[in-house]
Symmetry: D2
Subunit: 372 residues, 4 copies
């Protein structure tokens, strides 16, 4: 129930600061018998890893995860899974200069005021570095969901500043450093990011995630609706300022005749709902999008105050991501996987895993487009 | 921890269906000594009540709440507060015709598939009628937050279909049936809604809520960030498809130099963050907006299927809200109040109620405009 | 997660004071499709009801429960079940005299110190009257466990002051007002209680509860062991000062060769474990016993202090149970049922409801004797 | 909320198996500003450590704990504290022989049946080795409770088989390998244990723990009473079969006039309640006792079955504790500390840390004797 534990039945509890000795997590509630090794986790960790292209922070972290418990003879035992990643490339000296300042747009000021004291090294606990453990834990959920239910969870960059993909080619997402699904936009993205980096400024982004194959019936009315828990999970990612399900904010100007997804024996005719009705999965693709703010760590000077309330000018020297959205896709996938895994277990606790009384109807709406 | 309980320390557990004998809630964790009577709850219940204008459902419910426990000699005792509202105007006959059908865009299909069985009377548990108890419970949180911390929580209609308020006049919000803050838009709203009602169609809306006077330091990193819990609370309201904090989706196209809220000894120079930094309240106004979909209960025929998977045409005869956004404002205020109350208690559990080491700095950004 | 909610998946949240208008509960997480009516709950409520013999308090409460939600067309829907019992026989005047005093051995002093304020009418929230809702909620759990798993939960009076049953005749338990399983002890109990009542004093008791037919595998290591949660549930009943599982405190003087329950293909040869190994049910009978203190509400004067810290003499005038153990059996059964129900759901969330790899072996130890 | 997390606000989540690479824990919710280093944890770890005398298992584990996060510049930051202990002396070969057998009185059978699969090395997760992390986490709670509230938590061996201490000399507890408070019993204990070890059998024990200086008012009615949560915590320790608060099972034969702790302006005249009234701390010493069963790992042959349900004879070769009660005292202290710490935070969340309206009255009952 503490702030560093996610989920109610499939729970992930994490620890670790940007510049501490290590990051760790405990994954509890995982069903026994799942084949699991470090390699299953490393794949997504590598997708999130910094320093892979000139467009992300140049901090070099191998992010090698170790499984310390809960797996025996290659299979999960049903007991808690302990995970550990050592921090390697820390360079604390980069951060000494902001020890007494509050970087605008960062958690420095609020952590200082909440706790009366803070670890200022690279943001300490508030650093996006913490998300590495989410990705590791999410990979376990992803694997179980895929093997047990055939659920596939995939995300992509839906917008970066002014640039939007015009088509959704899933196979392209892994072929570029931006997780962009449109091969025709890669050059524009490269040029935009190079210019941005030279300018010393940063930019916002939009990421969309799609879960296909989710069974009908996951989600707990009334407060723990599936979409409510997805919103909680995604808004809880660093730098996220907005979450949409399905048509999202476009619903504001829609009419009911346009929005309501009509049904026929052949299936749903559209997916404005984004796969959730009344807080329960409908069997259509679950489609969610997030808005990520531009990072506030800039090479351009900004006005702020110091611990003594005096005005100072801050310039971030260290390494940073000029667009945090670029590396966000694996994190968004992981958080959605954790929500779905938790609700899979919550659903079967009350309702077992029985097939519904009538066969679920398919979706006739193309994947992800409603949020594309 | 069940789906019908909200909060971790200040908890609200609700029960009741649209057409059952009563709705109820148990509010647990309320600090002792708060002066409380039914009248404190009734004010907000009356703001949400249906049938007050021709623009909302004509169901006539007095929504009179009774306090059954937890209050003695006019003050809360610290023990659970039991709340009850009897359902009066039920008219089950209105709903018999959809007993075997799944209304598109409603929870009928997903409830049936999840539970294998459902209360089809007016949506049963999935009816927005359930939100009456949220408003009653939220009124307790609002009163405590106001009296103990000086927190004020106010919402307004930020958009209805194509119509947006152009100014934010708080005193106007209570003067019209739309919770619209711009007196110059009331005529347009009246005309739009009258035409819409004649057409038999429905429309979406956007509602913005602002909490002023929130102390610095509320929110629990990393998963239970204040903004993450706000997103959970607001996305958990019926018909909500999107949630924004501060600049929200506008952040996608912002640059860091534009987004980051610079600080001076005089205060924050802007509020793109919406009052939350690193998941912790900054002392600026907390500003959140939601997108509400157009209701799917229309007088216009729609395609759907029945329990046997056969194609049928559905027409909603009963009474409904052509724009659920119109009555949503008190619900949004209540849910934000519940989140803030829960985090006030969570914060002081770990950090007591001590003043921060340095005086909080004020906000120089005008209230709510960043989400207006 | 609040103090008035029990369970994690099958949750019971209660409200109500001894002399308030009503008691209530919300049961959430109940599987759908269970046939349920008020009559299913009333049977156990009647077993607990006061005033049925001269040996219990003469307060006359019909304890008629109403189901306000969660049941439709005679079956549970999977949504929360709202329960309500009106208080009828309150007689507040009986209690005015102790308004400013702290009855020794009661919660008066601690409630006053914790909350700075208390409802002094009949103990308010701390009254055993609150257990009526536990019995009502437990009856739902009992019915599901019996119908789905064949689990039978039965308790009996294992000791009253110096008097112990010498045999365990289950059919006798319902035939006398003491829940005593030994027909030969009834006369002794009648005489003891009559003399006690005349003396104005009270007496302690021991109650044993046995759950038969519990599947192998329920319980969550390491902190939420089945026996740990049983201890939590039973120690949480008013007046309970001790809890034993299986051999309990007799284990202190046992040798391993005596205590360990050897296994053969025919089954376990003994049940010192009381049906729990490593915190997980073994398939043997779950056997637990509790010690109940003598009530402190006596007609004999006692020394105490008042709100001003002055010495005063207190004499309880009102009605009371000279042995709270007499009516405790249905409450103990209910609490054990709630624990087992919660763990049944927790187990299947992670492990589904699959049969174990090898057939469970039976118990060769006679029911309950290890705690008799 | 998973089985491997303890507490609601001050939470401890643990992982690790007897023969895995490491044990770990995450302590969340710790107030910021507490001076903390590994040395604060090591003291209690050393008290629990195996192999310190010939009367405990000869497994040699240094149990050196590392703090991986949550502490900066020597003080807690309010963020999660990651703890790690590497397993050193594993000797898996010792356990291969019981790979296919279920040791009677152990968790082998129930883990196998629950999960369909188990780590058989030294009991895997069910090994008492897991308690090392509880002791490490408990040391943090102990330090905070002592520094902030002046709470002192001390335990002792109250019985070992037939041998009971006749006096309670706190200073003696640390002077002998048994945690025995009576210097006159040490020789008898030495002789008894030597003979027992030669015999190859094991013995049960009773341990009592006392918390002094606990403020009035901790504990959450009605289900999370302080004594109920203590029972949960202590029954959740390996091998525990019974828990008593205050007079415990002696209450069964007590009269109300004997049991009720009368109050005078000078203080309580006795402490049969064990420091808890109505589930809330009274300010008197909190006194709890547990019964620990004799370990089932014996050098004497026992009947059991194997994975195929066939009868086999089992003899434990490896190293074991002939009396698990000997090393239990630090574990019991740790679990009580975790409960008190959690309730300290829960209490101040709702009631802040304010002094009660009237000064608490002292206890006139000698420490621990009521459970001695």
């Amino acid at each position: 129930m503490s702030g560093n534990t996610f989920g109610k039945l499939f729970t992930v509890t994490t620890f670790g600061e940007s510049h501490g000795p290590a990051l760790g997590a405990i994954v509890d509630g995982c069903p026994p018998g799942l084949a699991l090794s470090e390699m299953d986790l490393q794949a997504d960790l590598d997708r999130r890893r910094p320093g892979k292209s000139r467009h992300t922070t140049q901090r070099r972290e191998p992010d090698e995860v170790r499984i310390l418990s809960g797996v025996f003879e290659g299979k999960t035992t049903g007991t808690p899974i302990g995970l550990l990643i050592e921090n390697v490339d820390q360079r604390s000296k980069d951060y000494g200069n902001i020890k007494d300042q509050f970087r605008p747009g960062h958690a420095d000021y609020t952590y200082q005021q909440k706790y009366g004291f803070r670890d200022y090294r690279g943001g300490g606990r508030s650093s996006a570095r913490e998300t590495a453990m989410r990705v590791a834990a999410g990979a376990i959920a992803k694997k179980y969901l895929r093997e047990r239910y055939g659920v596939m969870i995939r995300g992509y960059l839906a917008q970066l500043g002014p640039i939007r993909p015009l088509k959704l080619v899933w196979d392209e997402v892994g072929n570029n450093p931006f997780f962009c699904p449109d091969p025709d936009q890669i050059v524009a993205l490269e040029q935009f990011m190079d210019a941005l980096r030279k300018s010393g400024d940063s930019i916002g982004a939009r990421v969309t995630v799609v879960a296909s194959g989710v069974p009908v019936g996951w989600g707990e009315p009334v407060f723990d609706r599936l979409d409510a828990d997805i919103a909680h999970a995604l808004m809880g990612i660093n730098a996220v300022k907005g979450v949409e399900i399905g048509a999202g904010f476009a619903s504001v100007e829609q009419r009911g005749t346009e929005h309501r997804d009509e049904m026929t024996p052949a299936g749903f005719l559209s997916n404005n709902a984004g796969g959730v009705l009344g807080g329960i999965s409908s069997g259509q693709d679950i489609v969610a999008s997030i808005a990520l703010k531009p990072t506030s760590s800039l090479h351009l000077p900004g006005r702020t105050i110091n611990l003594h309330g005096e005005p100072v000018t801050v310039v971030t020297k260290g390494r940073h991501d000029p667009c945090v959205g670029i590396r966000a896709t694996p994190i968004v996938e992981a958080m959605l996987a954790l929500v779905l895994m938790d609700h899979a277990l919550r659903h079967r606790a009350q309702n077992l895993d029985v097939r519904p009384g009538m066969p679920p109807i398919p979706s006739l709406a193309p994947s992800g487009e409603s949020a594309g």
